[in-house]
Amino acid sequence: MCWHSIRRWFSHAPTCQEVARERLQLVLAHDRADLTPGMLAMLKDDMIAVLRNYVAIDPARVEVSIMQEGRVTRLVADIPLGPARSSEESVKE
């Protein structure tokens, strides 16, 4: 018990409160947007498919997430332009 506390102290494992805080933010972001994590993943795939008709992008570097600012919810997409990196070049047809 004591040993666990000491280890947790040094390893900076998240406390119960920190875990709850992070889960709360994530759950509320999806609740408020009425968008489940699975739907968000599908949205991201669809966005990538559409964007690829116009620009070169690397799907692996695209990030789509839901952000909270007070009671305002935003869908935030980070899409670095440019082709996939050389390591994935060979995979491309």
Binding site: Q17, L24, Q25, V27, D31, R32
Partner: protein, 259 residues
């Protein structure tokens, strides 16, 4: 007299809505205000038991709605404070017996006779929720410092906002202190996330269970920590200045800040 209609709601069940309603109603009556509390939980009434008034009931809210008695006849007067009255819910009917229009009609009549009308909203976001919140001038959302309760509170606050309710306040109930406080969500996170003004914080108090069983709200007990906070919240509602104290610091921070 045009009293203020305040509905106590939460979304999730078991967070302390009825306890809060009973204690705030009694706390306001202790300040000399005329208070009518309405049990909105038709079919599962409990406010009567928490207030210790179950043996005095003759009529209930559905009798008033059906025109079988006047509001005045259905009101149960508290045995301790003449200022406090209860309009009980029906126990053997369901929530379809009450409509939002009927509740508005009842709340208006009650507000003519009282300074405060407190409506105890049932859990959930169905019919009982809607008829309870429709007449409200002010909403009090009760939550606990735990993920499921805060999530449901957020949903309720969103619904209220979308329906044009402007004055929504928050009470965080069953807050622990000391080492076990760190198992709970902290106050700052809850208030910032829900983004509604904080009306008060009620400490976890073992005496609350016994008080519900006895029918004597903790607000009557001068030694109860929860009762003390309910008295302060009643004073805040009644217009007295009582700033909400900041979240207590953990002991090591308190130690270092003492300079």
């Amino acid at each position: 007299m045009a009293g203020k209609v305040i509905t106590v709601t939460s979304g999730k069940g078991g967070v302390g809505k009825s306890t809060t309603t009973a204690n705030l109603a009694m706390g306001l009556a202790m300040l000399g205000a005329q208070v009518i509390c309405i049990d909105g939980d038709v079919g599962l009434r409990n406010l009567d038991v928490i207030l210790g008034l179950e043996n005095r009931i003759v009529y209930d809210i559905t009798h008033v709605i059906d025109g079988r008695c006047k509001l005045r006849q259905a009101l149960v007067r508290d045995k301790r404070f003449a200022e406090l009255h209860l309009l009980p819910a029906a126990q053997t009917r369901d929530k379809s017996a009450v409509s939002p229009e009927a509740m508005v009609w009842i709340a208006q009549q009650a507000a003519e006779q009282a300074d405060y009308v407190l409506i105890d909203c049932p859990a959930g976001i169905e019919q009982g929720f809607w008829y309870s919140v429709t007449p409200a001038d002010m909403l009090i959302v009760v939550t606990n410092p735990e993920l499921p309760a805060v999530r449901d509170a957020d949903r309720v606050i969103g619904l209220l906002e979308n329906n044009g309710h402007k004055d929504t306040r928050l009470i965080i109930n069953r807050v622990r202190s000391g080492a076990r406080a760190r198992e709970q969500l902290d106050r700052v996170t809850i208030v910032e996330t829900l983004a509604v003004p904080l009306l008060g914080v009620i400490p976890e108090d073992d005496g609350v269970t016994a008080s519900s069983n006895r029918g004597e709200p903790v607000v009557l007990d001068p030694r109860s920590a929860a009762g003390q906070e309910f008295r302060v919240i009643a004073q805040r509602l009644h217009g007295e200045e009582h700033p909400v104290p900041p979240e207590p610091l953990p002991f090591w921070k308190r130690f270092f800040s003492r300079s």
